[in-house]
Amino acid sequence: MTGLIELFSYSFFQNAIMAALITSVLAAMVGTYIVSRKIVFITDGITHSSFGGIGLAYFLGINPFFGAAFFAVLSALGIEWVSHRGKLREDSAIAIIWSLGMAVGIIFVFITPGYTPDLMSFLFGSILSVGYADLMVMLVLTVVTALFMGIFYRPVLYSAFDAEFSKIMGVPVAFFRYMMSFIIAMAIVVSIRSMGIILVLSLFTIPQATSMLFSHNFRRIVLISMIFGLTGSLVGLFSAYSFNIPSGAAIIFTLTIQYLLFKLLFWIRSLIAIN
């Protein structure tokens, strides 16, 4: 127990808890939009393509965050543009962007001379090494996203639900869709730091799946996802520290267990209701 209290006095652990808190809030808002619009596959494409940016950044010797952000935003807007124009099958476009991004990343990492220090932390996440600057970026994006989705809740919801009808009603659908694509890309990139490319999307989808057991109201799904995202992240964080395993994997594992537990509870409840 004293070990646990001592843990909280370390600044790296305080940072990790802050990161878990902020990403849970961010992923709850953005993830509910992703799940509702059924664009999980698109988002996975964006996530993986950002690896190209990380590789390029290593090669050029700049901060990998900027490379990842550049690639992710470009892919997100590109996919939205392709699906908007309808010239190319959307799933083909996603597959191309996905694999091209990964390929570019691998090539650049290979031709970069020397040792690439925290490449593994980008793939698998390392919430325990999140620094003050990372936290600030996460916080700013979370505040901007909350303001945008709060103020424009209706048009964002309407253009996601029925774009064609919203267009007829004079809603600037294209603007809201592109803005949300931009926000999704940025949210993914700032969460990669703690979750890792391979697993980050789960933080944007599993808490939502759990929430949808309780509610089918957009706003409520966001709120419940915040709670489940946070509990899952914190338990995952402690396990990651205790068992010395990558934080991303520990958090996703906890989130999944949490989902299965509630699923089971609801299943038992429905059985009781029948009898």
């Binding site: 309808g86 424009f152 209706r154 919801l157 029925d162 009808f165 949808m212 089918h216 957009f218």
Partner: protein, 245 residues
């Protein structure tokens, strides 16, 4: 002569450079009730999309000679994602024209209007329910309310009678008859039988458009204009049976 409220001239439209509609013209007047029929892929929905301004025609013009009009639109049920987490009330609210598109906060009057329409259409008990929990008929009612909340001058319905039971269909047609007193209606349907008993005029779309200034479906209309539909039309009164064609 009265002016049409909407006028389509020389429309050539389609997707990916493939024209579906070839040189179509249509005029809609204030109290019209036009039934649009035609085979699948004949361009019924394309015609509507051009009229609504969501599909830009390759050629031709869409004009509103008597000034800008409000159009209410009920899309095909298959276009609606029933698993989307949105409530009945929210869907109806989305039909309100925002007074300022950058500040979409609803006024107290608008909120009241939604409540009133939900009461009138018997949906008040479902207001907070997610649309995924509704029956086909209930969902169509919600979508119709969404189309009506803005008090349109023209109501456009794309296949409103799919996925609904006969009771609802009857209720819907009574409702439309009432609505037709205050707005023009365009009703797209593959169900030419019900259409002929309801509408005042018929337009047959099959690449071209043929306007038929009455609601009797003649063999000529179907054959000469290549509307390959054969059926018996059951209107309440008079009972019409089509000639074999």
């Amino acid at each position: 002569m009265t002016m049409p409220i909407a006028s389509l001239k020389g429309i050539i439209a389609g997707y990916n450079d493939e024209p579906v509609l070839r040189n179509i013209g249509l005029e809609v007047f204030a109290n019209d009730f036009i039934g649009v029929i035609g085979p699948n892929g004949g361009g019924k929905t394309t015609l509507i999309k051009v009229l609504l301004g969501i599909l830009k025609p390759f050629k031709g013009t869409v004009e509103f000679p008597s000034g800008k009009i409000k159009i209410g639109y009920l899309p095909q049920a298959s276009q609606i994602d029933k698993s989307f987490p949105i409530s009945v009330k929210e869907v109806v609210q989305s039909g309100l024209q925002p007074h300022n598109k950058w500040n979409p906060v609803l006024s107290a009057r608008q909120k009241q209007k939604v409540v009133k329409l939900l009461n009138e259409s018997g949906l008040q008990a479902l207001a907070k329910r997610p649309i995924g929990s509704l029956s086909g008929g209930q969902l169509q009612k919600v979508l119709l309310c969404r189309a009506l909340i803005n008090e349109p001058d023209l109501l456009v319905l794309d296949e409103p009678n799919t996925y609904v039971d006969k009771n609802f269909e009857y209720e819907l047609y009574q409702w439309l008859k009432e609505l037709n007193k205050s707005m023009a209606i365009i009703l797209v349907s593959h169900d030419i039988g019900t259409i002929s008993s309801m509408v005042k005029t018929i337009a047959c779309v099959n690449g071209d458009l043929h306007y038929h200034p009455s609601n009797t479906i003649s063999a000529e209309l179907l054959q000469v204009y290549k509307c390959p539909i054969d059926l018996i039309a059951h209107g309440p009164i008079p009972h019409r049976v089509l000639k074999k064609h």
